[in-house]
């Protein structure tokens, strides 16, 4: 590492890597501030007058095109993404945290098998479940409801929360909870006053990561949601094919769609390793 040649090689390798992985994000960001004329210019130029018109159009929902004004529902897609992700994570926390506690604290028959069954859902082809579900949802009246979507989103968020939070419960000494019980507190008070507060960093991390994964999901809503319930991932795709749409507006829509998860990821980066490996590896 001390030789100048290896330092230069290493430095340029890292520069190339950063270029490859960051360029698309930066380029789309630039595009989102360009007018159509700037975008279509060949060769591309870095010097342009930035415009907010793409964002204004998206957020106002009114798109002035050559063929008249076009209504777009991007804001509604954003709202759907937020609603679906927040509600799914909240439901998963309510369901998953007690279960994670049970798996961490009690060696009970079926315990491990239940836990692993839940984990294995993470790895089965989602369409295997989604396609028949699209038929069942019609019978159950869940087609195109937020409730039905949030239920199915548990497939993404629940295993994640379950396994990460379980790790945090396992890391805390059970004696602390025993001491609280011996002090005279009920099981429920011990769970809410001792176990959950002590696992709070893990619960927060799992929640943030589950939010990111729910937000980024595509196929669930593609199969089960119609236009007015679709999150940004599906909405943006429909956008591309919409007649008269401008490229700068697509770019702006992408930026607005990925911004929340990127910001959360930067905030939660300490726990990303753990979350991505479902609690198997600590960062």
């Amino acid at each position: 590492m001390r030789e100048p040649i290896t330092r230069i090689l290493r430095g340029s390798a890292l520069a190339l890597i950063l270029l490859f992985f960051l360029f698309p994000i930066l380029w789309i960001l630039l595009m989102s501030f360009q007018t159509n004329a700037d975008i279509l210019r060949i060769p591309p130029r870095l010097g342009f007058t930035p415009t907010l018109s793409n964002y204004v159009a998206l957020l106002s929902g009114k798109l002035a095109t050559s063929s008249g004004t076009l209504d777009i529902t991007f804001l509604r897609n954003l709202g759907n993404s937020l609603l679906l992700s927040v509600a799914s994570v909240a439901a998963s926390l309510v369901l998953g945290v007690p279960a994670a506690y049970a798996f961490a604290r009690y060696r009970f028959r079926l315990g491990e098998s239940i836990a692993f069954t839940l984990l294995s859902f993470r790895f089965a082809p989602p369409l295997l479940v989604l396609l028949p579900l699209s038929l069942y949802f019609q019978i159950l009246g869940l087609t195109d409801t937020y409730g039905g979507l949030i239920w199915v989103y548990q497939l993404i968020t629940l295993p994640l929360i379950l396994w990460i939070v379980r790790g945090y419960f396992e890391d805390a000494s059970p004696d602390i909870e025993h001491a609280y019980r011996v002090d005279g507190h009920s099981w429920w008070r011990t769970f809410t006053r001792i176990a959950v507060p002590l696992a709070r960093p893990g619960i927060a991390a799992a929640g943030l990561l589950a939010f990111i994964f729910a937000w980024n999901n595509f196929v669930f809503a593609l199969v089960l949601a119609s236009a007015d319930k679709q999150p940004v991932t599906v909405g943006a795709l429909a956008f591309v094919t919409a007649a008269g749409i401008q490229y700068g507006q697509i770019a702006a829509a992408i930026v607005l769609s990925i911004l929340p998860t990127l910001a959360l990821a930067l905030y939660a980066q300490r726990w990303l390793v753990e979350g991505l490996s479902l609690g198997a590896v600590k960062g």
Binding site: D175, H178, R181, V182, I194, L198
Partner: protein, 365 residues
């Protein structure tokens, strides 16, 4: 009966039986030391009594009431855990107040009681601190205060001095007995340190492999261990166990080994193949070689507290440990073994105690 009474406590971990039917009574105001090597099941027993470890069977009575079917929070007892187990997100004050909050006392009452016990344990100045801001000694006192504060009729103290430094351990050994007596509670105190047991115990219960080996006052466990394992466990350095030869005399039997020949008046067996003679190191009487007696070579010398411990090789080749006050002699020199002040005879096959020697000092002619 007031106090704690347990009988037939069994605990299984999978197929292994960790406690094989423990019986024990602790009267109110009494301190019983639960002594044994690690893995003996001491902590498991406390946890079973507290209800945080399910017992397969057995009865636990506190002040006459059966509690074995109750959840831990309904059992009237206080427990100090080995690792302190303080609540890391609560202040020392709130840690100590926890049992009082569970009992729904009013805030002013809680304040009075927490302050009183904190004063007693001299941690009143750190009540506002979080556990991670406390020294080990302060943590240990906080854990103790939490166990004491609700004045429970039963106190379970799981090796509370293990994780504190030697100086504090020494101080606490002096402070604890009067403190515990003042609570009037039935106390079970777990330790692996026989000195701690001697200092604190009204009675010692020796536990090994999930079974009680002996339940007796501390002096008796020390002076008259019920079996070879107790003799080996209780005492540091441990009791010498020497292969002896029985010699019949007019009204009693002597056991000869390494130049000692203590008499056993109560022994009714006269013939036994190589019984084990147990002699505490400090009971090996030493004299200068000039006085006669059996010579023994000093192989090694280790200072221990105010005494020194000698590893000796007696004339017959047996090695034994003796301890003596005063200046340490040099290794390689010789002493004379003049006899045994006190000795115990064990059956080599069953390991059980056969007899205790008479009080007289025996010197081989």
């Amino acid at each position: 009966m007031s106090g704690l009474e347990i009988s037939g406590i069994r605990v299984r971990f999978g197929h292994a039986e960790v406690l094989r039917g423990i019986d024990c009574r602790v009267a109110a105001g009494e301190t019983v030391v639960l002594f044994g090597p690690s893995g003996a099941g001491k902590t498991t027993l406390l946890r079973a009594i507290a209800g945080v470890e399910p017992a397969a069977s057995g009865v636990v009575r506190i002040d006459g009431r059966e509690v074995q079917d109750l959840e831990p929070e309904h059992r009237p007892l206080g427990m100090a855990f080995q690792n302190f187990s303080l609540y890391p997100h609560l202040s020392a004050y709130e840690n100590i107040a926890s049992p009082l909050r569970a009992r729904r006392l009013r805030t002013p009452e809680i304040e009075i009681k927490v302050r009183r016990v904190a004063d007693l344990l001299r941690i009143d100045h750190v009540l506002g601190h979080l556990p991670r801001e406390l020294s080990n000694g302060q943590k240990q006192r906080t854990a103790l205060a939490r166990a004491l504060v609700a004045e429970p009729p039963v106190l379970l103290l799981d090796d509370p001095l293990r994780n504190v430094d030697a100086k504090l351990r020494y101080e606490m050994r002096l402070e604890l007995p009067p403190l515990l007596r003042k609570t009037g509670a039935a106390v079970i105190f777990v330790t692996q340190d026989f000195r701690e047991a001697m200092a604190l115990a009204d009675r010692v219960v020796v536990l090994r492999e999930g079974a009680v080996l002996q339940d007796a006052p501390a002096e008796e466990v020390y002076g008259a261990p019920a079996s070879v394992p107790v003799a080996q466990l209780f005492g540091d350095p441990p009791m010498n166990l020497l292969s002896a030869r029985l010699v019949q005399e007019d009204n009693r039997v002597r056991a000869e080994a390494a130049g000692m020949a203590p008499g056993f008046p109560d022994l009714d067996i006269t013939r036994m193949e190589a019984p084990l003679l147990g002699v505490r190191p400090e009971d090996v009487l030493l004299a200068s070689p000039a006085t006669g007696g059996a010579h023994a070579e000093i192989l090694a010398v280790t200072p221990l507290h105010e005494r020194c411990v000698l590893l000796l090789r007696a004339a017959d080749g047996t090695e034994l440990v003796a301890s003596m006050a005063g200046a340490a002699p040099d290794p390689g020199t010789f002493v004379s073994i003049a006899g045994a002040r006190h000795a115990v005879l064990f059956d080599p096959a069953s390991g059980r105690r056969l007899a205790i020697s008479d009080a007289r000092t025996e010197v081989v002619a």
